[in-house]
Amino acid sequence: MFGDLRRFDTRRPQGEDWFRQWLDGMLPEAEAAHIRSVPRGSFPMINVGRTDDAVRVYVFAPGLTAEALEVSVQDNVLTVSGRREAAVADEGARTDFRRERFQGEFSRSLALPEGLDVERAEARFRDGVCEVLLPKREELKPRRIEIQAS
């Protein structure tokens, strides 16, 4: 049931980010970056997977509700935007030791593959992950071609 995310492990893991950033600063860009790629560590993180009949987008937006997250698709560009409020401090003194979690407004866009039927898109939110299902258009689904014996 729970597919494993290791199938997304196509490149170096997140733990080496600092090293990678440092290295990127020292060395000139080796390969051309995709024009719509984003730096790592952005909020919310996004994974995209594909099956034979649909594209699934996973938006990792912890602490947000379905109402606070806006998902839209235009010309194969998916945009997720919203706002994550900072926790409201109760009255009295509060001493902060670490503030690593993202807060404030965000808006991110990502290019999707061609040929998706946006009209039939569905989205649901669970455990801080918003899953968007975008079915492929009928004519683009893989088709089995019968081979006739001669």
């Binding site: 049931m1 729970f2 597919g3 494993d4 995310l5 290791r6 199938r7 997304f8 492990d9 196509t10 490149r11 893991p13 997140q14 733990g15 790592r40 952005s42 919310p44 993180m45 996004i46 994974n47 995209v48 997977g49 594909r50 099956t51 034979d52 594209v55 699934r56 996973y58 990792f60 937006a61 912890p62 602490g63 947000l64 509700t65 926790a87 401090a89 109760d90 009295g92 003194a93 509060r94 001493t95 902060d96 030791f97 670490r98 503030r99 690593e100 979690r101 993202f102 990502l110 593959p113 939110f125 455990d127 801080g128 992950v129 899953e131």
Partner: protein, 129 residues
């Protein structure tokens, strides 16, 4: 509220590969009232897949990402590249490990770590002479 389990010796379930990659969840830590508060972003972690433990004054927070993914799904793009989160903190002696409370709500873990009664802040009244 989940109870925090306390183990005398670190226990590693046999089914977990020790070399598996773990993500470092971003956390906010602040002190308010008579407790330390820790908030961690762990999207995809459920109440069942979250583990909070205190062992020899080391607080460990672990959670497995549980997503429903259909068979035959192949990745086209991925920023989150591991299946679990893990982070550990050393507690100072004034924290009452028995009284730690944990909660997970929509992928956000909130821990309340109360101070021991003897270490709470006391207001000292200054009396006029």
């Amino acid at each position: 509220m989940n109870d925090v389990t306390r183990h005398e010796a670190p226990q590693v379930p046999a089914d977990r590969e020790p070399a598996e990659e773990a993500l470092l969840p971003p956390v906010d830590i602040f002190e308010e009232g008579d407790a330390l508060h820790l908030v961690a972003d762990m999207p995809g972690v459920t109440r069942e897949s979250l583990r909070v433990e205190v062992d020899n004054d080391v607080l460990s927070l672990e959670g497995e990402v549980r997503l429903e993914m259909p068979e035959g799904l192949s990745a086209i793009y991925a920023e989150l590249r591991a299946q679990r989160y893990a982070r550990r903190f050393t507690l100072s002696h004034e924290i009452d490990a028995e009284a730690i409370q944990a909660r997970i709500d929509n992928g956000v873990v909130t821990l309340v770590l109360p101070r021991k009664r003897t270490h709470r802040r006391r207001r000292i009244e200054v009396t006029a002479a």
